[in-house]
Symmetry: C4
Subunit: 258 residues, 4 copies
């Protein structure tokens, strides 16, 4: 029976059999949960359908908890987690199992006597239900592949990025702090300017006013933006290569297709 449940819960290989219907039901439930999270955030809708939202939440928690417990119990059916107890514990630390747990955790915290304020923050964890869908959507696993492929380059670029952020923030803090003690109050707060400038978002809530600040800010903008775009560019090219691989034949140059 454990074997049967395991096959029901794992991603179906054939369209139309029982496992496929279970997948479909779970995908529908996850999607409805995401829709519920979005709709519940709209004040008038939340007020009018509060009971409905609460009932749906309770229903979802029951199903997701059942799913989590069953997945944990049947983990031994997978060759990677063959050992009775150790296998189950090891399964509990796989990314998908952690996501499954975090998605239902906020509901059980009050019973564990956790502070109410923390529980409120934990509501954000309902967002993990969004990630449960990754089990069924192949394309989303490309993310993991890219992060693996480009790990070294990404790490180096993040070091650069952090350096650049620290460097530009410190300069602008010393230059602008006297003229704008509120906006450029400290180096960490000046980083908000650095991020807004180097990503070219430029909300306009904070910008240099002194001539020296504008001069240095301008030089930082012109030179820094190219450097800052590096990690983003590496991520983008990584995705683009991996998306390309699924369409072009393997081994072909991603540029000329030969």
């Amino acid at each position: 029976m454990r074997k049967q449940i395991y096959y029901l819960l794992s991603v179906a290989k054939k369209k139309g059999d029982a496992s496929w219907w279970v997948d479909l039901f779970l995908i529908a439930l996850i999607s409805l949960n995401v829709v519920a999270i979005v709709l519940e955030s709209v004040e008038p809708i939340r007020r009018q359908y509060q009971t409905l939202f609460e009932r749906f939440e309770l229903f979802s928690i029951v199903i997701f908890t059942l799913e989590y417990v069953l997945r944990l119990w049947t983990a031994n059916e997978n060759d990677k987690f063959r050992q009775p107890v150790i296998g189950n514990i090891r399964y509990a630390f796989t990314p998908f199992a952690v996501i499954d747990l975090l998605a239902i955790l906020p509901f059980f915290l009050p019973f564990l006597g956790v502070d109410l304020r923390i529980i409120r923050m934990m509501r954000l964890f309902r967002l993990f239900r969004l990630f449960k869908i990754a089990r069924y959507v192949n394309a989303l696993r490309v993310i993991q592949k890219v992060l693996d492929d480009k790990r070294e380059e990404l790490l180096l670029s993040i070091v650069f990025t952090f350096f650049l952020l620290l460097f530009t923030s410190t300069i602008m803090y010393y230059v602008e702090n006297e003229a704008q003690p509120d906006a450029f109050a400290s180096i960490p707060e000046t980083m908000w300017w650095s991020i807004a400038t180097l990503t070219t978002v430029g909300y306009g809530d904070i910008y240099p006013l002194t001539p020296l600040g504008k001069l240095l800010g301008g030089i930082i903008a012109v030179l820094g933006i190219g450097l800052f775009a590096l990690p983003a560019g590496i991520l983008a090219s990584g995705f683009s290569e991996n998306l390309g691989k699924e369409i072009y034949q393997e081994g072909a140059c991603p540029h000329c297709g030969k």
Copy 2:
């Protein structure tokens, strides 16, 4: 006679013959319609030349309706729509025929007893006249080719984009909602912040104020922009490849020209 009208309306192959003059007349009329739409939107011009605009609109509608009816009637001359009635109906559902219909539809709705408020919205449909020009401008058909070539990649990227938008909006909504209940009023409204940030437009009408919001907003900006630029980049590279193909020889690598 139906054959003659069909050749008059189809894109001319030889400069200077009757069909070429019909093309020229229709292109001129479409261009004048676009100019009229733009000029009519300017209040002082609209007021002064109202009668002229109304007359030109009536004239255009008559010509475009005639064009639509004739194209529909002569569709059978095209080998693809050979069958008498079914061919005409099938032609009516081709993109160009739909555009031709939508471009004249708003004028005829009042006679069908449609609500005046909807008709006002339908005025936007006059914009479809802009697309009528695509029949004559080869370059604009590249759009369709790109959408065909890169369909799979675009679909995957749109899934990513939507995921990213949903994910970042939900985080920022939970973090900023308490401090800014108006700007971050709900997840759908927070998406406006996500779009403005991830596209790096940054109008500055909405941005995080709390330290946690700025921290998470900064991380989202730094990491998300590269991911978000993916669909745009795929579209751009698709166009650039297709534009290149028309200039370089076919089969040559669009990168090194070999």
Copy 3:
């Protein structure tokens, strides 16, 4: 003597001879003119050194007029403009000759009885002195080469860009005009929003406020930015290829350097 003046004015081939000193003097004068234009724009500096600026302007005009007249007179020494009068007239229409004329024109207009208001606008023409330097800086001629090389692609992209601008502006005008009759007053004025959004500048002086406007504006931003970046990308890649050619050997792939 005409031959001697021609060689004095043309770009020197050997460092240190008379022609080289003339080049140096003209480059210095052009640079000083640019500095003068910038400094004169600063109110306190303009007021204090007004006489100095006026004298320097007079001196520059005398030299540049002399240079223009001599270049025109000695144009026949160039094989391309060999014919006595026709050669001089043909030279007068070369880009550099036109720039030389426009750079001094505003000074002579009052003597020709031109309206004072137009003369004021013509002061902008002093900017052409900046371009006179292009004769001596090889690198700036790359601009011309790129515009020649990528003419067809640029033309196509400009058609796209204009289409996109017209299309998005018309949509947003119809959607937002009622809610913001000042900012989205007409289609031409809505183009300011389209440009600010599609270039991702986003000053924040104009943005949609209605839910429908935000929805459509968001879709336009996400999809349009990639398309809009096309002409800019073509220009950039054109420059990058041409800059590369001067460093790598000709015929080599600009990507792998082979």
Copy 4:
């Protein structure tokens, strides 16, 4: 003994020996200094731990001065600076030695009778301690390599960039100065608009208001952004190539991996 100190201070080749521990200690001290600079900028933290910050600053200065003096003294052990006095002086002008000196300089200036206001500005020099870390982080030396590799292309692009900035600022100054005498007060101040626009940051503190200014500003934005992104793009591609080289085999094309 000088030889021993030289090896202690130079980057360790073997993990765990004495030189490695010295490296670790200096890296830790540099990192703590950066943390201290950041924390000290936060008003409440600075007030509460002022004595601690002052003591740590004194301790750091002592160590860094000792490090600088010892490095200067032992420079002769390096084959490049073999000659007794001339070698030491030549070492003092290497980038790392200059950084080491500038990082401690502000502390010693008061003893040299330098004006207090200048000393305050010199506090910014503490930032050079951040760069001391470059000696130990291999990846940061990529910056130097890129600047060397792409020197010619970068120089050409900086000339372009400056030209573009000067050109667009002068146009917008003449067009907008009358309507906005404060924001577009002079050409140098208009450059702030040019930078904000051409980098697409667009803070929204300064933008054209007149129809002509919006028209020209729009054209500048559409055409200029691609050109302006050139130096940034060259830097980015340079980094990306150099980062790639460390992962792919040398000699392989960074694009197709062959």
